[in-house]
């Protein structure tokens, strides 16, 4: 089915069971309701990280995903608060807007490779932050707060999506929503990587000159990929804004952009599901080290360096081993 082996299907099944049934059961039993917020954050960060992973897939180091997450968060907030749109419509619109910005920025900068591209993306987040501070529509440093919770949607009188405001447990609703979007994101990523576009990306990642000699329009594919990548960033950011019910210029910072990239390194650049695992481990890793106080950063960085040194292909390379599946 869908080109999966039965072993993979079982894996996917266990995974879905865990996040949709296992986690709520465990949280219900332990009473750790705060975990919903943590795991929702992980899911949303994993969506943005999936985009960064995709730019790695065409051989570009992207340290600018925070910029697109911030753009997505603002676009959704403005559409909901100022234009009165439904959040559910603003969500894809935020992704699309981020993608369009990516196309405009990508046209000049995607020609750059290696450290040059990385450096430019590194300043993007700061540029968007400063823009948000300067523009009237984004409300400067005050940001946009009091974003209403997502309202329900019904088609022909049949409710498709519930009204979050009328719920007693919005945490659970947001958790489910984030998980569904994350799963859709990774399913799309998996299909993309295993389709012709993915194969063309791989050819470009390995040798752009040879790719163009076999007729691959490398500049076009770079733009398409960067746009999709930023679409994911915009989606993740928009969801975040909705959950926090506010967006500020500092909602996503350069450090977040760096983390998106680290998530990919940590999980493994060779594996579609690498960034998801990387996000989970990095997010919890940081929290677990909290009790070390001022040594938190030191231990955290040391562990990261060791992992990248000894597991250059990421955490997933342990389980899957050399070659592995995608």
């Amino acid at each position: 089915m869908l080109g999966f082996t039965s072993k993979q299907l079982i894996g996917v099944g266990i995974f879905l069971f865990m996040i949709f049934i296992g986690v709520p059961l465990i949280i219900g039993a332990t009473g750790r309701w705060d975990f919903y917020f943590t795991l929702t954050s992980v899911a949303l960060l994993a969506i943005a990280s999936a985009g960064v992973w995709l730019t790695f897939y065409i051989g570009r180091i992207n340290i600018g995903q925070g910029a697109f997450a911030l753009i997505g968060a603002y676009v959704s907030a403005i559409l909901v608060v100022k234009a009165g749109w439904s959040f559910w419509i603003s969500l894809p619109a935020a992704g699309l807007f981020a993608a369009i910005v990516a196309i405009l920025i990508g046209l000049p900068i995607l020609r750059l490779r290696g450290v040059y591209f990385a450096m430019i993306t590194l300043v993007l987040t700061q540029v968007v932050t400063l823009t948000a501070l300067a523009l009237p529509i984004t409300n400067g440093a005050k940001g946009i707060s009091n974003i209403p919770l997502p309202s329900g949607i019904s088609l022909f009188g049949i409710p498709i999506l519930p009204d979050f405001a009328g719920m007693e447990n919005t945490k659970l609703a947001f958790y489910y929503t984030a998980c569904v979007i994350m799963i859709l994101t990774y399913a799309a990523l998996y299909r993309l990587v295993n389709s012709r576009l993915g194969h063309l990306c791989r050819s470009m990642q390995q040798n752009e000159e040879l790719a163009s000699s076999i007729g691959v329009n490398i500049s076009y594919i770079r733009i398409v990929i960067f746009a999709i990548s930023s679409f994911f960033g915009g989606l993740g950011g928009a969801m975040f804004g909705s959950i926090a019910q506010s967006v500020y210029p500092s909602s996503f910072q350069v450090a977040d952009s760096v983390n998106f990239m680290l998530n990919c390194f940590l999980g493994g650049l060779g594996y579609v599901f690498g960034p998801m695992l990387g996000t989970l481990v990095l997010y919890f890793g940081w929290d677990l080290l909290f009790e070390f106080g001022k040594y938190q950063m030191l231990i955290y960085s040391t562990v990261l360096i060791l992992i990248i040194r000894f597991l250059p292909n990421g955490l997933l390379s342990i389980r899957i081993g050399k070659g592995g599946d995608k």
Partner: protein, 260 residues
């Protein structure tokens, strides 16, 4: 019959250095034409301009009546003029078969979206690509190594893989830059036969740059000789072997010898 490809007054300058100076010659359909000359003569530069990997400073390259110089390489490849590289340029972490499959993407009938959703046409494409990859690898005598990772292949197979990738695009004109480099006598002779069968059985017009003179004399219908960016001679192998200017150019250089 009008020529398939015409090089017209092509000049390439890198700063003060003239790598190609007003080079002109024609390539007929279905011929094997070699470009020879000492190191630094400008052979690779010429090939890069024909495949639009680098723009001409002046002059133009005409293919089937259309200018193909100063375009993008992928556009020229789509028209059927495909180059291989002097260095062994391959997709390192793909298998031989994967490389040959991906190189056929121009023949795809389904759209990229069709591939994403797994449309019927896309599935048919993939089956066709894989079938043709197997045929091509069989034709090139590479069936045994088809599942080898490219980075694990010995030098000789890498050259063959480069040619396989080029051929998989279904070119009309294939530009081979030093396809026999680093090969011993037997490997070279195999490759000579292979290149000839590419022309004979697949109707591909072949242009090649080579230093191995016996191989060049053996394989070529015609030869163009460059020296210091100038075309100094053009003709059949026997004409070239007896050309004063050519002998002089080669005797003047230390590291090349003409096999006569």
């Amino acid at each position: 019959m009008s020529p398939l490809l015409q090089v017209k007054n092509v000049t390439k300058k890198y700063g003060g250095l003239t790598a190609n100076n007003a080079i002109s010659f024609d390539v007929a359909e279905n011929e094997i034409l070699s470009v020879i000359g000492p190191n630094g003569a400008g052979k690779s530069t010429l090939f890069k301009m024909i495949a639009s990997f680098t723009p001409t400073t002046s002059g133009e390259v005409i293919y089937q009546g259309e200018r193909i110089s100063n375009l993008k390489p992928h556009i020229v490849a789509r028209k059927g003029v495909v180059r291989t590289f002097q260095e062994t340029t391959i997709f390192k972490s793909m298998t031989v078969r994967e490389s040959v499959v991906v190189a056929q993407h121009l023949r795809a009938k389904a759209s990229l979206a069709g591939y994403f959703w797994g449309s019927k046409t896309a599935k048919e494409d993939v089956t066709a690509f894989e079938k043709y990859a197997d045929e091509l690898l069989e034709f090139l005598g590479m069936s045994e190594i088809s599942n080898e990772q490219a980075s694990n292949l010995p030098q000789g197979s890498l050259r063959a893989l480069g040619i396989a990738i080029g051929l998989a695009t279904d070119p009309k004109v294939l530009l081979l830059d030093e396809p026999f480099a680093g090969m011993n006598h037997d490997e070279t002779m195999n490759m000579v036969n292979l290149v000839r069968s590419v022309r004979d059985e697949r109707g591909v017009t072949v242009m090649l740059v080579e230093h191995d003179m016996p191989a060049v004399m053996n394989i070529s219908d015609r030869i163009v000789v460059l020296n210091f960016g100038e075309k100094i001679a053009e003709g059949t192998p026997s004409e070239i072997q007896n050309n004063e200017k050519v002998i002089e150019a080669y005797l003047g250089s230390v590291d090349d010898e003409i096999g006569m």
